[in-house]
Amino acid sequence: MQRLSLIQRISQGPVLLDGGMGSLLQKQGLKAGEMPETWNVKYPERITEVHRAYLEAGSRILLCNTFGAHPGHYAPRELRDVIRGGIACARRARREAGLEEDSFLALDMGPTGQLPEPFGTMKPEQIMDWYRASMEIALEEGVDLIFLETLNDLMETRCALLSARQMTDLPVFVSNAYGADGRLMTGATPEIMVDMLEQMGADAVGLNCSFGPDALQPVLDAYLSLAHVPVLFKPNAGLPALNERGETVYDLTPDLFARKVAAMVSRGVRLAGGCCGTTPEHIRALARYMPASVPVRDNPHMTRVSGNTRSVTFGAAPVLIGERINPTGKKQFREALLRHELNVVLREGIGQEEAGAQILDVNVGVPGIDEPRLLREAVEQLQTVTELPLQLDTLNPAAMEQALIACRGVPLLNSVNGSPESMAAIFPLMRRYGGIAIALTLDEKGIPGTASGRLEIARRILREAEKQGLGPHRFIFDPLAMALSTDTGAPGVTLETLSLLRRELGALTSLGISNVSFGLPERETVNLTFLTMALHSGLSAAILNPYARRLMHTFRAFLALKGMDSQCDAYIRCVQASPLQTDPLPSAPSSAPSQDPSAPSPLFRAVRQGFREEAARLAREALASRDGMSVMNQDLIPALNDAGDGFEKHTVFLPQLLMCAEAASAAFEEIRLSRAAAPAATHLPFVLATVRGDIHDIGKNMVRLMLESYGFPVIDLGRDVPPETVLQAMQDHNTPLCGLSALMTTTLPAMEETVELIHRCLPQSHVMVGGAVLNEVYARKIHADSYARDAMEAVRLAEKAEKEYLERKEGGHV
């Protein structure tokens, strides 16, 4: 008999997977806490026996006992032994059962047990290294497929599949574990997972573990209505419970389990088995009820992008893409990027989200910048503050790839065009990492002057993409808006192209709106008229400035007029949230500071009591008649000092102190903005970090806030920072001041190491330490220069250390 390829076999009818392993081994004496894979070496005959029982029950895909075989759990030699042993056991069982020709062996891989950044400490590259290490051993030994299962985080799943795809052309099946809310532990939905995994080349997708078949039904239904590759299903035998003898029992008998699962299989599942609590008896029963064939589902291909938890579908209502994370024409933004201050990116991200953007374009292209590194960091950090899908905007393929490694979900790639060079750079990235591309209707010869010329380029892009296995749903076409002022016919060609793309190719479209008004007065009027025309021509996505109120109102009004906004709710909300006419300054807003006769000015009071917007507004007003220095020295610093003194005397508490600092920072920002040329910083830069291995940063963030509110330029290196990085930053910024934070006893050695390194290389430096596990005595023991009990003390100590350093420097001692 000729051995059928696995994929062919699945296309002929549903295939049985196996059932639980761990619970069976426990019955044979595996102790709680003992690693099941060790039995591959210790008791291979018992493992072989379990496999054989499953084969005899009807399983045709055996998952080797390698679920937890990761470098994180085993030393290299041990890892090799348990993986080889696990494969050998399954192979022997197959031989003994006489099923070598009609069954398949899978390297089974579960989660690493470590969480990727930003919630954990693992970098994507580290996770991939782990998976690759185990896969390499298995592939040398020889398996028929790779089975990734019980994964409960999007990023880890992404890394596991990327690793597998890098290593082999064998089939790779991916199975996730969903929570009771129908999402992965870190929030991803079935929709996001299916889109992403299919685009990245998974050969089957599905779900396992967590619950019994009933509870998983909604998630399974979602998979069946979304997927184009085979769907797999491996539920638990119901819910675990205690029996009177104190044993774990699952509430579904083999027969009941099998009937429930078989009914679900008949709706289109192609691979079925069981997870925790299931036994060869469950699989035998399932074999009895299993339908011989299942319907082939013909799900539509949707153009959809996603972040970690949210997705946006194109083709129904037009989609709004925020364009503001872009240094073009923004001096302060550009300078902030050059200084590596990603806070500006985060603020723009959140601001645009609040203004109504559904997707954020991310562009950090500044000449002379390390764009691959910066774009990746911007993507990583943005994903910690917003759940919106991202549009990765770069001309640099290396930067695009770095951003894709860090990206959660299915992003937009901005952009590809009809030139062979561009397609050769972008298509492989789309195949490897997934994603939807914005395709510009231009090529190496430039932008065709006619709509038919642009349409021809779009056709060529689709033809070339198809050769690479990329379907038309992976593209959104940009018919290119050009300035009305230089060619009055240009907008007409753009709109004609848009209509042609829709009519001839059924394509989705996207346009950057604001180019059209370049060089004209009252640009916004031109922009919103053009936006209306484009929307009316069927535009699928508009890239625009979500802070432009009239544009946003127009966009919302269009949706309401098209019947895409029931009760006009979204329109009304949008107009109420950002009215065109700004009200005259409120005389007594509800959140205004209460009257306090002892306070010298309203600004002082607003800052002291922590009313941020009020403080910014009052600072703006004050700056109309006074210079920044006087506002700073007469209002902001006295208010901060007042709160700080209160904090030290225990009459003001931490939240108030922080709100006061936030209000002062907001006012300080107004002062900075008000001056064309900002004066040299009044303080030395201060390098701040949470030490390696530690991811607690709330205390560190408080120190940053307090220092910034007092005017210190803070270089915040974030969490889990290696000693060398701290040193490098102090050298780069030429400063002797540094603060280190740690919360866990386990990370104190890293702190000590960092202090030691800095003192060795920069003997004149001042290293301040702080954090819950530290005290004065321990700080001295690790040779820190000072210990700050709290954020307020950190400011006092920083001022003192700075003064002493400058005095030494003046005295010629540095």
């Binding site: 400490t121 205690l242 985060l346 009591q609 963030n701 806030l705």
Partner: protein, 218 residues
């Protein structure tokens, strides 16, 4: 390693439950935020955080119970608090990832709000655990008397690794433990509870000699 399960033939199964959270104790939230008296703006901040987290109203609890003599815990003063328990309960409880996402979002934008959300999350989790009864843990005849966690007093933090081995924290609860023993989601507690027939209430803060602790309950 300090801990182990004795009795090879006995199995102590785990149970996973979703628990509704009790009403918010606002004073407790302020206490966790390090705040003895709150100004108007602080109260407004708390109210706004309460609104933002209104829908985050459940916790997930994973536990197993075993007779007091079946579990060997690392010896010490803290563990001795459990000495007279009839049953011990190993547990892991989490509010889930939504809190981490929220706190991360604000840690860049408003450390004051991030602090208040931290405090609120802690209160939510502690209130939920404080409210557990013997019945919740499958022992209706017993009272929950004490609760300790790795890292409290002399109960070693390293016991986290044991707990993660005894309970399927990662697969059932989505909890992960980093090499430096940090848990994610961060609003999670693991530990051991002592249950017994007769109950003496936990002495709480009054048993502690740190009189000037900023978290001390008055």
């Amino acid at each position: 390693m300090p801990g182990r399960v004795t009795g090879e033939s006995r199995v102590f199964p785990w149970v996973l439950r979703t628990l509704p959270l009790p009403p918010v104790r606002e004073r407790e939230v302020l206490r966790y935020a390090g705040c003895r008296e709150a100004e108007e703006s602080t109260l407004a901040l708390l109210q706004s955080c309460l609104r933002e987290t209104e829908e985050l109203n459940t916790a997930s609890l994973l536990f197993l119970t075993a007779p007091g003599d079946a579990l060997c815990l690392p010896e010490g003063k803290t563990v001795s608090l459990l000495a007279s328990s009839d049953m011990l309960c190993l547990f892991a409880c989490t509010l889930g990832m939504a809190w981490d996402r929220l706190i991360r979002r604000y840690s860049h934008l408003s450390p004051a709000r991030a602090l208040m959300l931290q405090a609120l999350g802690t209160e939510r989790l502690e209130s939920c655990l404080d409210g557990l009864t013997g019945a919740d843990l499958g022992c209706p005849a017993l009272l929950v008397r004490r609760r300790i966690s790795p890292g409290y007093g002399d109960f070693p933090l390293e016991f986290q690794r044991e707990l993660f081995r005894f309970l399927p924290c990662t697969s059932a609860l989505g909890l992960t433990l980093s090499p430096s023993l940090l848990m994610t989601p961060s609003k999670s507690v693991t530990g051991v509870m002592g249950l017994s027939r007769t109950g003496a209430d936990s002495p709480g803060c009054s048993a502690c000699h740190l009189a000037d602790c900023s978290f001390r309950r008055s």
